[in-house]
């Protein structure tokens, strides 16, 4: 774990532009929330072809389940005509990899992967060029294949990549115009591949942030206020300091940290500490959220506008109005956040962390300790689930501060309750929709007003604009006060906005006595949207009907970060329990690098959506999170698994658009629509299951 890797000093090194993460734009979520991180260099090493004919690729992303390590290796292997097992990928190490804004927004394949393909293609062309002189043959006669450049006419005349690059270092710049391999010539990409890191994951060898152990490390047990905003009132540390293994106790404004030689000693000492807390008074509860969202709304932004609502509603033969509510939900990665910080003898800081933004953490550390970013090295471990919440990684600074204070490396690890309480939540939202439509199903007016909790306006804006051909539209998204810490969650507000929009589409269909799929298709001209909806309906075996048909089927359409999806659900209700039997989801994410990786992501996103659809809601009162344990916060288990079929429909000549998020987006509306179809009860408030059979939802 503490081995210090370095970029090879021999071989062919390909460098190129950095800053290919999520594009930093003005006034967006990324620039507002993450404005601290800026590239420190314009170019960086992306790839090295080594004298042993192996290739090392570098990317500032982290691996948190999306199998991006394997995806990148596949892209490099294909462009360099190498077997997959000769490519290794170094991720998220601020001393080694190109600067990156963070692993979020389904951008890794779309942007970073493309840059790695260009780097690998540049290397391939450079190797052929080197071979022309080595073999004294024209480039037109040379072909790169399986780690060798050889003559097309006489394949016995050839030279390995390793021999071509030799024992010295040569540099090339990425050729932005380099010809990339055509999809029909892929030998690695597009085929299902076993993950490079699969063995490490089944043998326990994969090291996550919770697993980092460095010599001389102290374990911190941090006592935090039982309520949000609480401050340390008084604390008697003397007794605890005498306990076995305890090295010191550090009292801060909001925390008391016990540093001990072992985790067990820190834990035991922490339990015996009796701090008195000064709690903030008059804290609100989850029950008032719907009103609070409306009352505190500010800065509404129009995200879609067309025609005139007045004209549209004047035209309409029928109108419908409905209000939808989505509560806060917890992100719940399996691995609670942890970090180990070590101050080196020369004053540099080394930090092991499982955050989604290694370079963001580096900037945060540099700012906190007023040192240059070059004095901080952040090494990303394997990340045990993130889904957005690990873009925010406060244990890192806690560990670094305590390590400085103690003069020894320090490990800070969240407990499950810490992770649930002090992580960020997907913001609660209230959404009002008024629609106007003709008796034949044409929608002519659409007014959508959303109120999302929290200051990050872009969370709520994502996915608020609709895909349908409506002549008179106005979509507005406001920010409201947020009693809980709101933040990133898979697809940001897209899954939330889609719950309202796609539920409402079914309400229109029911009002008109139309089939929900037919209603959508009637208002949909975009071929990629039509493509996923038609494919999902076909594979599902959707037969037209008018809800409630008592069949328990529901569909929904979705769009997120460039990708299209449609889902069909079939479910049943037994007592108080909804059983989802079958899901078909068609997704168009453009070009697919690793089909297994994409399917796995989409299947997982569906399960996560099922949790928010049926069970999940973060509850709080008097500053206390009431749902900080798995005993009180239900997430989907294997017994809740439906039969899931994922159909990938993308045109392989179109750019990759990311697959990590779109799968969650249609899920909750499809569930609510299927419940209506089964029972005739329209549930407009998530989660659905507790509201089954109750009026006034």
């Amino acid at each position: 774990m503490t081995d210090v890797a370095a970029i090879p000093t021999e071989g062919l090194r390909i460098s190129g532009r950095v800053a290919l993460g999520f594009p930093p734009r003005r006034n967006t979520y990324t620039s507002v929330a993450y404005s601290n991180a800026q590239p420190d260099a314009e170019t960086a090493t992306w790839l090295v072809v080594r004298p042993d004919s192996m290739v090392t690729a570098y990317a500032g992303k982290v691996e948190y389940g999306q199998s991006i390590r394997t995806g990148f290796a596949m892209e490099v292997a294909d462009e360099l005509r190498l077997p997959l097992d000769t490519v290794e990928v170094v991720l998220g190490d601020t001393d080694l990899t190109p600067w990156d804004n963070g692993t979020f927004g389904s951008q890794s394949t779309a942007r970073t992967g493309l840059q790695l393909r260009k780097a690998a293609a540049t290397a391939r062309e450079a190797l052929v060029e080197l071979a022309t002189s080595k073999l004294d043959l024209p480039a037109s006669d040379l072909v790169a294949r399986d780690g060798r450049v050889s003559s097309r006419r006489d394949p016995s005349r050839g030279v390995s990549y390793g021999d071509l690059v030799g024992g010295e270092l040569s540099d090339r710049e990425i050729d932005d115009e380099v010809v990339l391999t055509a999809p029909e010539d892929f030998t690695v990409m597009g085929q299902p591949a076993q993950r490079l890191d699969a063995i490490a994951r089944v043998t326990g060898a994969a090291v996550y942030s919770q697993d980092v152990i460095v010599p001389g490390m102290l374990h911190a047990k941090i006592r935090r206020s039982p309520a949000y905003g609480g401050k340390v009132g008084s604390v008697d540390v003397a007794a605890v300091e005498q306990l076995p293994g305890v090295v010191r106790v550090v009292v801060d404004e909001e925390t008391v940290a016990i540093l001990a030689e072992s985790d067990e000693e820190a834990e035991v000492a922490g339990r015996s500490l009796r701090p008195r807390w000064q709690e903030a008074e008059d804290q609100t509860s989850h029950e008032v959220m719907p009103q609070l969202l409306k009352e505190t709304a500010h800065d509404p932004a129009v995200t879609q506008e067309n025609g005139s609502l007045a004209e549209g509603f004047a035209l309409a033969e029928r109108t419908l109005e409905a209000t939808y509510y989505v509560p806060y939900v917890s992100t719940v990665p399996m691995e609670p956040k942890a970090a180990v910080a070590r101050w080196e003898d020369d004053g540099r800081l080394t930090l092991w962390a499982g955050g989604q933004r290694p370079f963001g953490l580096r900037a945060e550390m540099a700012q906190a300790f007023a040192i240059d970013e070059s004095r901080v090295r952040v090494i990303a471990t394997e990340v045990g689930g993130g889904f957005g919440t690990k873009s925010y990684y406060p244990v890192a600074l806690e560990a670094a501060k305590l390590a400085k204070e103690a003069g020894r490396p320090v490990r800070v690890a969240y407990t499950r309750a810490d992770e649930m309480t002090w992580g960020n939540f997907r913001p609660a939202a209230l959404i009002e929709i008024k629609s106007g439509f003709m008796s034949d199903g044409r929608i002519v007016a659409w007014e959508f007003n959303a109120y999302h909790a929290g200051p990050s306006a872009n969370i709520g804006r994502r996915g608020s604009d609709g895909p349908y051909d409506v002549p008179h539209v106005k979509v507005s998204v406001a920010s409201s006060d947020s009693p809980l810490r709101s933040g990133s969650y898979r697809s940001l507000g897209a899954a939330v906005n889609h719950f309202a929009r796609e539920s409402h589409m079914d309400e229109i269909a029911a009002d008109l006595g139309m089939d929900p799929v037919a209603l959508r298709l009637q208002n949909l001209s975009h071929p990629r949207f039509r493509g996923v909806l038609e494919k999902a309906a076909e594979r599902f075996g959707w037969t037209p009907g008018v809800a409630p048909s008592q069949r328990g089927v529901g569909c929904a359409l979705a769009f997120d970060v460039g990708s299209y999806a449609a889902a069909c659900f079939e479910l049943d209700v037994a007592g108080a329990e909804v059983n989802i039997g079958r899901v078909v989801l068609a997704a168009d994410c453009g070009q697919i690098v690793n089909p297994v990786g994409v399917e796995n992501q989409v299947e997982g996103a569906i399960m996560m959506g099922i949790g928010t659809g049926l069970y999940e809601a973060a509850e709080f009162r008097a500053g206390r999170l009431l749902t900080s344990s798995f005993a009180r916060y239900r997430v989907p288990r294997m017994v809740n698994l439906p039969q899931i079929e994922v159909v990938l429909t993308g045109d392989q000549s179109l750019p990759s658009t990311g697959a990590g998020e779109v799968g969650i987006v249609p899920v909750t509306a499809a569930i609510a629509n299927a419940v209506f179809d089964l029972t005739g009860q329209r549930i407009r408030e998530l989660p659905v299951q507790p509201r089954l059979g109750k009026s006034g939802a």
Partner: protein, 155 residues
């Protein structure tokens, strides 16, 4: 002296009151066994005690003295993956992978008491193991595949 066996090696714990998961992870430095919730509700900390799956986060060392414990690191023998590990690899039954050691240990326990579980029995046996990445469909497939392969190997 009080001892227990971990992955075939005899170990003498320094502190018998220590939490078993803490002992495994930070005294033995076998970090493949994971902390997930500390309440026995997620299964990430599952190890085998005399062949039976146990939530190590809810156990103290003295409760398992004299036992033989297998952690995820001790499952593969002589460089070969255990058939359950192999099945998880082949079914791509993993995303972030944090829960996977626990699922594998639970599965080994299941297949030793029920070598040919039905789909419902697999789901029931693994119902207390949590995978937030939602890889359940592939995990179920991996367990069924492992049962099949182990069954064939016994013939």
């Amino acid at each position: 002296m009080a001892s227990l066996t971990v992955n075939g090696e005899e170990r003498q714990p320094l502190d018998l009151n220590r939490n078993l998961l803490s002992f495994i992870r930070f005294e033995l430095e076998l970090t493949g066994t994971k902390y997930g919730c500390g309440e026995g509700l997620c299964g990430a900390c599952t190890v085998l005690v005399d062949g039976r799956p146990l939530r190590s986060c809810e156990t103290t060392v003295d409760a398992v003295l004299g036992s033989s414990i297998t952690t995820i690191e001790g499952l593969a023998g002589g460089g070969d993956l255990h058939p359950v590990q192999q099945a998880f690899v082949e079914a791509s039954a993993m995303q972030c992978g944090y829960c996977i050691p626990g699922f594998i240990m639970e599965t080994v326990g299941l297949l030793s008491r029920n070598p040919q579980p039905s789909s419902a029995q697999i789901r029931e046996a693994l119902a207390e193991n949590m995978c937030r990445c939602g890889t359940y469909q592939r995990i179920e497939r991996a367990v069924a595949q492992a049962a099949l392969q182990m069954g064939e190997a016994r013939r």
